[in-house]
Amino acid sequence: MNCKEFDNWVYSYFEGELEGDLKISMDKHLADCERCRREYAALKSLASSLSSIKLPEVPPGFIQRTLPKLHITYNLTQQSKPTWKMFWLIAASILFGGLIVGVFYLGGFAKLQNLGFIDKLMKISPGELGSWQVYLSIFLKVLVQNPYYVMFIAIFISVTSILWIRKKLAYN
């Protein structure tokens, strides 16, 4: 190996990236050649004095001045980006609204009645069962007797969800 070749490889050698024969010839040249030994030592000492440079001091008060801006930025970006969780929640509520409309409005309600489930619940008198079943039976009675309420609630849920999604997406 000559000095020119040594110079070509010296940085990779210094970074410890050379292996095998190439590394051995570099070692050998370094041991034999005064000039390259000096060059290599200079490279090493330059790198180490660069590494010893300390990072600058942060201007006094910088953190205090910057913190409120970061909080504002966080609040703005979080509000304008619907997460996937929220997206699925909204999708589910639309589906739910649609299902209710389907069941009550498109005749599915009659099928439910045919199953006898609702009749059975409606015959239960208060006090006979635990409280949640009483509330459910009252709720179902109201819904069965007033199908327009159901439609209204379902459409309200769907429309507000859609409007909400559109508002969220408009920020992006």
């Binding site: 010296v10 940085y11 990779s12 970074e15 200079a42 490279l43 330059l46 790198a47 004095s49 660069l50 590494s51 010893s52 440079i53 300390k54 990072l55 600058p56 001091e57 942060v58 201007p59 910088f62 953190i63 001045r65 910057t66 913190l67 801006k69 970061l70 909080h71 930025t73 966080y74 970006t77 979080q78 980006k81």
Partner: protein, 180 residues
Amino acid sequence: MEKLESRLKNGKPEAFRELLEEYSPMVFSLIDRMIFDRTIREDLAQEIFIKVIENLQSFREDSKLSTWIYTITYRHLIDHLRRTRHDPMEKTESLEPTMSLSTQDHPEPLEGQRNAMLKILDAIPEKYRIVITMRYLHERSIKDISRITDLPEGTVKVRIHRGLRLLRKKSHLMEISNEL
């Protein structure tokens, strides 16, 4: 303790302070080596941290937070350089500073050794100065530097090597001029 990145994503107030305390020295250090207009260093640092917060949701948990923040910092500064270089109003600001300019511009007096080394470093061309800053002042790996700068690893190594040679030449000149 939950990782800083997830506490940031969840908006934990103490996480923002921790982010600033941990990364400000590095951010200011890179600003100082890339942008010589000292009047805007704090504005730039704030813009960088705001960008970090704005892009939190796009940070992937499998990457390293420090590399990600470093990349945002570097790209923001490169954008700034491009913008100001195309703006003829700012043309008076020289791209490669002269040695005397960079000494006056340091806001606080620095210890001798560091000051001398930084003066020489600031006097070499930007493309060498940036990779040398990343490799030695900030101890980034060659692989990291290649990812951050979007340059092939080979190019990064060649630039570091050439930069070191230039630094060596300049430091020789400095020693000679000091002796005179």
